[in-house]
């Protein structure tokens, strides 16, 4: 414990000295989030400095081993770091699918050369990754994917296309599910391939969403040559890696990241500001009932995340519960956005107006509708719970 306290003191001092003042301000818009990559455009010198300093210490990925660019911290130390960052309201230096998704899979399934090659670049924000899972017309049905990787001796020849690749137009590399054995049954012929988006034959086309933004792309592969050493794990075992990785994604979407964590203002606080009180209760009693019901569920849900984490830490088996967190968390977030739209009334309908930020709520609301579709639809999560947790029979 004494060690931990001295670690805390050192950490606090280092953060005080190294975290630029600007990086201690709340995130205002998308530009404030740093995604790194070859073509990174830093919004400010402070943002650049903060990434470099944290990357150099490995604290963008505190628990990864030092030889792979990580901080080499144990769980307790990582918690101290997180607490100390929260204390000074330090921003996360780097947002990255490499950190959230590929990294954990690489650590588990990658070979030593792959780990040494890719993990440090992820940690320092040098390479930005995207994910190639879904295919046009396949939706949640990942097992029916058709993108082929033909074995050409020293390389694979990749043909096909992927859809819903987040920020593929901005990414440097892709981790991609491909079919290496066209004769094997559905799940079995799939492999997990890493390759450079700058390879010849790769092209991307952004998908415009109902919210007006284009965070996703369709990505096309036309005779893309990928070196054989870029295969991760065993050939035909891509499905296992994908499932492992999807679990991480589900936790991310269902969890505090995209449904927002403690930093968001509560629905009732927003309602109180906008609608006001009447005799100490919210002036709109029907909305109050709905808000209270929502907030109770949101609170019970966040306690459930806390409990699942605590149980996992205590060594209990919680693996199949990621579907629950994904399902319930995304449905709650949609409900939250619907309530905010109701609370804001006609003001929430604005798409474009004279002031900056008008239209943000409507866009966020529309964006939230995708929560229960991306990363496995709510229906797929319920199927998984029914089959894997409840062990109900197949149809």
């Amino acid at each position: 414990m004494a060690d931990l306290e001295s670690f805390r003191a050192e950490t606090r001092a280092w953060l005080e000295a190294n975290c630029p003042e600007e990086m201690r301000q709340p995130i205002r818009d998308d530009d404030d989030v740093c995604w790194g990559g070859r073509n990174v455009k830093f919004k400010s010198e402070a943002q650049k400095l903060w990434l470099e300093r944290m990357g150099a210490k490995g604290w963008t990925v505190p628990e990864w081993p030092k030889q792979y660019g990580g901080g080499g911290l144990d769980r307790a130390e990582a918690k101290v770091l997180a607490e100390e960052m929260r204390r000074i309201k330090a921003r996360s230096p780097l947002s990255s699918f490499g950190i959230w998704m590929l990294g954990p899979a690489l650590l588990k399934y990658g070979n030593e050369a792959q780990k040494l090659e890719h993990l440090p670049k992820i940690a320092r924000g040098e390479i930005r990754w995207c994910q190639g899972y879904s295919e046009p017309g396949a939706g949640s049905d990942l097992a029916s994917l058709r993108t082929s990787a033909e074995d050409k001796g020293d390389h694979y020849l990749v043909n096909g296309s992927k859809v819903w690749t987040s920020y593929a137009d901005k990414a440097d590399w892709i981790f991609c599910l491909v079919r290496t054995d066209p004769t094997a049954p559905k799940h079995l012929g799939i492999s997990f391939l890493l390759f450079d988006m700058a390879s010849e034959g790769v092209s991307t086309s952004p998908i415009k969403l109902i919210s007006g933004s284009s965070p996703f792309c369709q990505t096309f592969f036309d005779n893309v040559k990928v070196p054989k050493e870029n295969l991760m794990g065993e050939p035909g075992k891509g499905w296992t890696i994908a499932k492992y990785l999807l679990t991480h994604e589900r936790n991310m979407i269902g969890g505090s990241d995209s449904t927002g964590g403690g930093q968001r203002d509560s629905v009732s606080n927003i309602a109180r500001k906008l609608i006001g009180l009447d005799a100490a209760i919210l002036a709109d009693t029907a909305l109050r009932t709905d808000i209270a019901r929502h907030e109770m569920n949101a609170l019970a849900f966040s306690l459930t995340m806390e409990r699942v984490l605590a149980e996992a830490k205590a060594g209990q088996d919680t693996g199949a519960l990621s579907s629950m967190l994904k399902y319930y968390g995304t449905e709650l977030n949609k409900e939250r956005m619907e309530l905010l739209m109701s609370i804001r009334g006609s003001d929430g309908l604005t798409w474009e107006g004279e002031e900056k930020g008008e239209g943000d709520l409507a866009r966020s609301w529309l964006r939230s509708r995708a929560n229960s579709i991306e990363g496995g639809t709510s229906e797929v999560q319920l199927n998984i719970i029914a089959k894997r947790v409840l062990d109900l029979p197949g149809a």
Partner: protein
């Protein structure tokens, strides 16, 4: 009155459905949106709507209208909802005509024929709170010269950016939330002191912010009696709410039809997704909900035509039920479409946007649930 369309009304339905499908389909809505059209609708289509008698659906025959009643107006709006047709139907033909029918013979003679011809657009400038509350009028009308001087700010003035005349609710007496003391004025948007800021909305329609700074109106511009405008305002709003319910019914119906079609075509895991029982049950439930919304809406429109005392209750029922159902139908539509439902390329998202905007217009289901409860004494 039997709760069913008459043969005449069925004919109106058929011709309205044909008209909007041909003349103002969803693709036109998309094109206007993409062009960032400043008007937000096609004036040409509006002229042809007038030619069909739609603009004058609530205008007496004596003033050149078709005088077909509220059920017919709802039928037209439902067809517009199915096609997401944008036109100043609600603001001018429903709210405007309802308002002017309460006007003096001179006002009627001046405006009603123009409304029926599609030659004059009106807009209601009433809401001041983001959450609809029609008695919440802080805008003042103070005696001045032979009339009044208006000061205040109005939000969410639908079609305010193109209106030829604004109908402004202002307070000549009483406190901000009183029903008594509100007076309606016909205001020329080009008059001195009127400032109109257009805002485009999530559904690509327009609602202006109207700022009134010492705007001088004369006595002839008062609509109805001084201090008694709230009753007319409620009448306008109830006609508008019932027609919005009808429009949302069209939105729900079309979103549902599109979704059911998709369920029959799309395959996943080697099967048509429409064969999955969980989706079947949700679709079947939604079918029932839409049927309930249909009944409530027809009843509200009939009650308005009959001048029934219970019309406000049925109108609130229709607005609340059709609103909730439209939200459900479009949310389910997007979810069942999956990822492509989130893309701008597919139409289903447009229906979701329109459903939300219509839900927030003239009171959402929470507002109307409260209104019904008060009417029923609890």
């Amino acid at each position: 009155m039997a709760l069913v369309l008459t043969e005449d009304q069925q004919m109106i339905r058929d011709s309205a459905e044909g008209f909007f499908k041909d003349e103002a389909p969803v693709s036109q809505h998309r094109a206007l949106r993409d062009a960032k059209d400043a008007t937000g609708f096609s004036r040409d289509v509006w002229t042809r709507m007038a030619g069909m008698g739609f603009a004058g659906v609530l205008v007496p025959e004596a003033h050149g209208g078709a005088d077909m009643g509220h059920v017919a107006a709802g039928i037209i709006l439902e067809a517009m909802g199915k096609n997401l047709s944008a036109a100043p139907m609600l603001s001018t033909a429903v709210l405007g005509a309802t308002a002017l029918r309460a006007g003096t013979p001179e006002q009627q003679a001046k405006y009603l024929p123009l409304i029926a011809q599609g030659a004059h657009l009106l807009a209601l400038a009433a809401d001041e709170a983001a959450r609809h509350k029609p008695s919440h009028v802080a805008t003042t009308a103070t005696p001045s010269g032979n009339g009044f001087r208006l000061n205040g700010v109005k939000g969410f003035v639908l079609d305010g950016h193109v209106a030829d005349t604004l109908i402004v609710a202002a307070r000549t007496d009483g406190e901000t939330d009183d029903r008594a003391g509100i007076t309606l004025f016909l205001v020329n948007p080009k008059a001195d002191g009127v400032k109109i800021d257009r805002r485009s909305m999530v559904d690509s329609r327009n609602a202006a912010k109207v700022t009134l700074s010492d705007v001088q109106v004369d006595g002839a511009d008062v609509l109805g009696n001084v201090g008694e405008g709230f009753a007319i305002l409620e009448k306008m709003l109830d006609a508008g709410r019932a027609c919005l319910a009808a429009e949302m019914l069209g939105v729900s119906g079309q979103a549902f039809a599109t979704t059911v079609d998709y369920l029959k075509q799309r395959e996943q895991f080697g099967q048509k997704i429409g064969s999955f029982q969980a989706l079947q049950h949700r679709a079947a439930h939604l079918f029932c909900e839409i049927e309930l919304a249909r009944s409530a809406t027809l009843k509200a429109l009939q009650a308005l035509d009959e001048g029934s005392d219970r019309a406000p209750m049925f109108v609130s029922l229709a607005k609340a039920k059709a609103g909730d159902v439209a939200i459900l139908a479009t949310n389910e539509g997007v979810q069942m479409h999956g990822g492509i439902g989130m893309t701008d390329e597919y139409d289903i998202g447009f229906f979701m946007k329109r459903a939300r905007a219509a839900q927030e217009t003239f009171g959402d289901s929470a507002f109307h649930g409260d209104r019904i409860a008060r009417q029923l004494g609890y």
